[in-house]
């Protein structure tokens, strides 16, 4: 399993799962149409309470990352089309704020930060369009 749970983190476990699935989708590790393990499978594999997994899946579904056609299994959706633009921007800004703080801490200047971001976007796009 490519998910890693860190119970010593202050981040609730369902949120760790949501974040990691999102990252896997964004980076092309998971592709549209891929089937996620069932709630039970994932709960047993990770030794995590199934309600926690179910909560993560519900959030992923509400955000349009995952679809559950006729309630049978969870599949990676085509894109985050379920979100309206304002909410998408709000969620993205949260991540950007974290990056800005890290850039300041690590003395990464504006130019390097923007270059790195562009490189990573290019790389993720290449990987998603590959195969």
């Amino acid at each position: 399993m490519w998910l890693h749970i860190d119970p010593s983190s202050g981040t609730p476990i369902y949120r760790q799962i949501v974040d990691q699935v999102r990252q896997a989708v964004a980076s092309g590790v998971l592709r549209a149409g891929d089937r996620l393990p069932s709630v039970r499978e994932m709960a047993v594999e990770l030794a995590v309470n199934p309600n926690t997994i179910a909560k993560a899946y519900q959030e992923l579904e509400r955000d349009g990352v995952v679809v559950t056609p006729r309630g049978r299994g969870s599949y990676v959706a085509d894109r985050d089309h379920g979100l309206d633009e304002a909410e998408a921007i709000r969620q993205f800004t949260e991540g950007v704020d974290r990056l800005v703080a890290e850039a300041y801490r690590l003395r990464i200047d504006r130019k390097s930060a923007l270059r790195l971001l562009a490189e990573r976007i290019d790389e993720a796009e290449r990987r998603r369009s590959g195969e």
Binding site: P7, S8, A43, A47
Partner: protein, 295 residues
């Protein structure tokens, strides 16, 4: 049937002058995995033993799977529905695993031989192994096998994974989850392993000196229980006057505050306090939340 597998109201237990449990109210939803946390001597084992009818209560009422606590508690018909593993399970030292299982089968009308065979296989416990030859970890595994064979509706586990190495602990918890949740089984457990509880439990309660100090869903607690770093030189009294603030500790630079509430509201009200220059709110792990109530 009621939605609560266990409910207690105002339960008090005294040992001489000392109150081991003080006015404990507890509500364990059916089908949930509920963890009782607390430092040594906080009353966890007393609480668990009361639920098993192994202890006379001085005050309070309650019920387990619909049966009221009281003089004739627990009736035989209820005992069959509860699987109880004590902290150091008393297993007959001279018996073999197989002999113990045969004995347990005789006591349980709903014995599930298939589950037992599966567990013995997974745990690699030979039927002819004598208890006195078993390691602490193997004893814990056998104790789980014995109760799961009885197909209980309610599992009560006192420090169940003590003595298991990390690999076998993970396997133990996987089995517990796999075989409890779909069966709708309620699990009440006590543990010191907070990382394990964080994964496993729906709800936790923290017992300190016989009193329940905090009860809730783990995810909710993580949203509301915050650690806050404050720059500036406010007074302790002013900080403690802010709603939700439980503790303020002066540090070399500024103050460290523990508080319950929403991050944005706490930040806003702390910024109003005289002398406060900056406020940083941090999330806490279950372990940090625990320490903030117990320490």
């Amino acid at each position: 049937m009621s939605d609560l597998a266990i409910s207690l109201q105002g339960v008090t237990k005294r040992y001489g002058q000392r109150e081991a449990l003080r006015q404990v109210d507890l509500a364990v939803p059916a089908g949930s995995i509920f963890a009782v946390l607390g430092p040594n001597g906080a009353g966890k084992t007393t609480l668990i033993r009361s639920l098993m009818g192994l202890m006379h209560l001085d005050e309070g009422t309650g019920s387990v799977l619909g049966y009221p606590l009281g003089p004739n508690y627990p009736p035989r018909s209820l005992k069959e529905r509860i699987g109880y593993v004590a902290q150091q399970p008393a297993l007959y030292e001279r018996m073999t695993a197989g002999e113990l299982l045969d004995l347990a089968r005789g006591l349980h009308p709903r014995w599930d031989g298939q589950t037992v065979r599966r567990y013995l296989d997974l745990f690699s416990i030979p039927r002819d192994l004598r208890v006195r030859q078993m390691s602490t970890g193997t004893r814990a595994q056998l104790a789980l096998t014995l109760v799961m064979g009885g197909n209980p509706e309610l599992l009560i586990l006192d420090e169940p994974t003590l003595g298991l190495d990390p690999l076998h602990r993970h396997q133990y918890l996987q089995l517990l989850l796999a075989d409890s949740v779909e069966a709708g089984r309620t699990v009440l457990l006590s543990s010191h392993d907070l990382h394990q509880i964080e994964r496993l439990a729906d709800r936790v309660t923290i017992l300190v000196e016989g009193k329940l100090t905090l009860t809730g869903a783990i995810d909710d607690l993580k949203v509301t229980e915050k650690r806050i770093r404050i720059a500036g030189d406010p007074t302790e009294a002013d900080l403690l006057a802010v709603p939700g603030v439980r503790r303020a500790v002066k540090e070399q630079i500024g103050w460290l505050v523990t508080a319950s509430g929403r991050a944005d509201e706490l930040r806003a009200s702390l910024l109003q306090v005289g002398g406060v220059k900056a406020v940083q709110v941090y999330d806490q792990s279950l372990e940090e939340i625990f320490l903030s109530y117990v320490g």
